[in-house]
């Protein structure tokens, strides 16, 4: 998917928005703690303005391209965040098994028809992978993984 966008102006705007987000709470901070971030914030604003001016006078890129399927991109982004959000509720093991199956099924559909038989064939591989990593981190490396409602 190709979008018409002046990348210089877009980058400058991102810089200004980021600076604004950090600028607002700075007054509650003491001099020693703010002296350095303030200098960088000013520098960031100057660079962002310079980019916007450049974008108006002599723009660099005028379009951006999302390669592949934007729908798949946004679905996977949502999937990752859902995976993260559910870890605390369902526990790491259950959430990861569900997320792994769901992502594998969704992504495999791009190049092949995913039947139940195929999913069943993949099950030992997915189960093995997830359980090996789960046990390695939990038992060998002593990482206290979130348990949630189940494990």
């Amino acid at each position: 998917m190709i979008l018409r966008l002046n990348t210089d102006i877009a980058a400058g705007t991102v810089g200004l928005v980021f600076a604004a987000v950090l600028w607002l709470p700075r007054e509650e901070i003491g001099r020693l703690s703010i002296i350095f971030p303030r200098a960088i914030l000013v520098l960031l604003c100057l660079i962002a303005v310079a980019l916007i001016v450049k974008g108006v006078i002599r723009p660099g890129g005028r379009q951006v391209e999302i390669t592949g399927s934007p729908r798949r991109l946004f679905t996977v982004i949502a999937g990752f965040f859902l995976w993260w959000g559910l870890v605390e509720v369902l526990g790491f093991l259950v959430t990861t098994l569900v997320a792994f199956f769901a992502l594998t099924w969704y992504l495999a559909r791009v190049e092949t028809r995913v039947t139940w038989q195929r999913l069943l064939k993949w099950t030992p591989v997915i189960l093995g992978l997830v359980i090996v990593f789960y046990l390695t981190f939990k038992e060998v490396l002593n990482v206290r993984l979130p348990t949630g409602l189940f494990f």
């Binding site: 002296i35 960031l44 390669t67 870890v87």
Partner: protein, 512 residues
Amino acid sequence: MDMLLEALASLLTFESVITVLVGVSAGLFIGAMPGLTATMALAVLLPFTFSMEALQGLIALGGVYMGSIYGGAFTAILINTPGTPSSIATTFDGYPMARQGRAYEAIAAATIASVAGGIVGVIFLLVLAPPLARWAVAFGPSEMFWVAMLGLTLVASLSSDSLLKGLLGGCIGILLSTIGVSPVGGESRFIFGYPPLQGGIELIVALIGLFVIPELLTMAAEGRGALPGQTELRKKEVSILSIARRIFGKPVNLIRSCLIGQIIAIIPGAGGNVTSLVAYNEARRFSRDPKSFGKGNVDGVVASESSNNVMVAGSMVPLLTLGIPGAPPDAIILGVLLMHGLRPGLDLFTESGVLTNGFILSMGMAALLLLPVGLLGGRLIHRVVIRTPYYFLVPSIAMVTILGTFALRNSLLDVGIMLILGTAGYFLRLIGIQPAPIVLGLILGGIAEEGYVQTLMAAVVDPIPWLRLLHNPLSMVLAGMVVLGAATTLVPMWLARKGLLDRVDEDDGRSP
């Protein structure tokens, strides 16, 4: 000399060789996994050395350190994901080489460079430790500020498309490093009333997010693997000997990178990520074909990998002589020394000289063992990455990155930050803001801030406080290097604008 020979004799036993071999293999495995750093590898394997003798414990950890730094190159080359922060610069050319079907060439070059770098680092440590350590002590706050600034001039050259966008990314990275408790004032900054943010943004979290997640999203969107399916190692076309001949035939890049690695390694806290980025930048700057960097130039891989492996032994200089860790993993080594009742300083080279020299030599042995272990392991890791369908690879990498990110501080917030930064990184890349300047800003932000604020605090009675940043010859030299570094970045852009570069290119094109 007697101590050195005695140390060598104690090292050349079956038990010691096996310890180094196991250490290197374990380090290689952990280092090759995205999110698991050399520090983590050392911390995780530390308990296994408790029951060992002091020398055996130290040589095991030395092997793990060397193996994990080198292991980071595998995923950097194969899936554009630096296994350790030290391998950031390896991705710049290693991954394009893998995409061109030259994965084996990149891995072999990384292996040879790592072996050479590791051995050179050990030689430096043995020969130059005392004078270099004395020099490093001269670095005060203002000098550290300029060292950080020198690193930040890299920002401009790391973002090849636009200097302004590179600087913007660098500033965003520096500001991300200021989130949390201030290192000087001690107050919480930019936490938006959310106390868990006081811990700040962990470098590894940002690194995984900015480098791994955009790549996973691209793979998912395009419906393809990290490497083209038909890509082979092309082992038959390039032999290890031909790659070695190429590297050692024109050794300037290797020598320069080793020297840069050693100089930066003795600066406390600088770490392998800074050494590899600086060495890469200089390799590109001095190259006859700088445009090929970032597109699969083997010299980029050699520069990055040789310098970061020099750092392994090189960063031990301030550690063994002053007790100051040159890089984060060294802190673990310091802990082991103290645990065995060994205090850094002159005593380590006199009373405990055999043990210290044995430890140093064991790192040389570990570097040599990288060759067989790395090349065999490389084939295995490559096979796993290539033959795994992308619909298994995406969730597998996502799972390991989530696990690795969580394990750093047992924090689900870190996983969220990693995902947010990764998603933002994907879209920022689309508008020309690359992840490397952001990461560099994040690494150097803390160093620059401490140097800047401490210098200004010391200059409160001065009429012009900031002049304190240039109060001694060393600061002036470093400041001059910053200006020079920035200027040399701007020169090619100025030449391109004047059209002079095109003429040079045309001339090059005409010559046979």
